[in-house]
């Protein structure tokens, strides 16, 4: 893997949303997703719905799905845990294919983290029986499509964990960030 490939671009996520026909992104901001938010706001094909608490996102998404739209929920792992009753009661019990893109706060590739949000993310999803796909860099982007396909095929919620441990999406200047990483590593 090159250093360039190690980046996960907000543009990559947005392209995946559009490829899968997403009409609405229902989200609560977190430290990992600001740059993605800016990209979504500029896109005329996607309606961004900002909520006050993460558990609203799954319920709003459920209504959009029943009404014929294709939403995606965008929350942090802490918000996913807060949303358990909505995921259970609407996604799982109502057989609704809700795709949740979840910022994996605290995630590290070597698995050691002081952040309980990270330590409990996958055990929580496993306990709920929610399948998930880990996305770390642009090369993993097709896993987002796999998540949409699985949700549609099984009529169940599916999660995409965004494990970009170095940067999240919150990059004020992607080009500058790429140059900085290249200068540090000598690779491009």
């Amino acid at each position: 893997m090159t250093t360039q490939q190690a980046l996960l671009s907000p543009v990559t996520i947005l392209r995946q949303f559009k490829k899968n026909g997403v009409t609405h992104v229902v989200y609560l901001p977190d430290s990992e997703t600001n740059h993605l938010f800016l990209a979504m706001e500029e896109d005329p094909d996607i309606d961004v719905i900002s909520v006050g608490r993460e558990a609203e996102t799954m319920a709003i998404a459920a209504g959009l799905l029943v009404g014929g739209k294709k939403p995606v929920c965008l929350v942090q792992n802490t918000g996913m845990m807060e949303s358990g009753d909505s995921i259970r009661g609407l996604g799982m019990d109502c057989n609704l294919p809700i795709v949740m893109v979840i910022g994996y706060r605290g995630w590290t590739r070597w698995g050691i983290t002081p952040d309980s949000a990270a330590r409990l993310t996958e055990p929580t999803l496993n306990a709920w029986g929610v399948h998930y796909y880990l996305v770390e860099h642009d090369g993993d982007a097709d896993r987002i499509s796999l998540a949409f396909e699985e949700a549609a095929r099984t009529s169940r919620p599916v999660a995409v964990l965004v494990g970009d441990e170095y940067h999240g999406f919150n990059r004020p200047n992607l080009d500058e960030e790429r140059r900085r990483v290249q200068a540090q590593t000598g690779r491009g």
């Binding site: 900002s50 799954m58 709003i60 998404a61 029943v66 014929g68 739209k69 009753d85 019990d93």
Partner: protein, 195 residues
Amino acid sequence: MIKYDALMQVLSKQRGKALVVPTMTAGASWSQTSAAPSRDLPISGAMGKASSFALGLALAQPDTSVIVLDGDGSLLMNLGTMATIAGKRPKNLYHFVLNNGVYAITGGQPIAADGIIDFSEVANGAGYAATFTFDDIEDFAGRVSEVFATEGPVFVTFRMQPEVQNEPIGRRPRDPRARSTVAAIMDLRKELRTL
């Protein structure tokens, strides 16, 4: 104070083609009254989230009125929904809270700030397009056309006479004719042709 049956009768006559999303105590009462169950979707599986579901439905079906029959305890569990709804400004959403002051289905314990909180004032402060409050069914029956002619999001507080259930949920008789939520979703999606 308004009785549940009386309110449901008025709403049933006036709903037109509106989609109705009832929750908790209102769900049982509405299901006995509604003449168009294929356009109803009772939501009880995610506590407090009926209004959020209704918002999604209203945004997806902007040319159809959506009525959510919320509970006061349910709304308190998800009070941020009022800011979310006000922020999206769905013209076709009618958010009705049935304010009986208690958690009726769990034995009648009082809600937080019972007798103190004014939900219509909260909605007004959140930024709903219009708010109403009714504590008399004749008053509402006389103004229901005005309510539905008002561009949303509209919020209405109904001051209700509590109908408390004390039997534990697991021991309550179940209506064998009652649809599951999954079946109700399928019916509604067929009705809306969104399958």
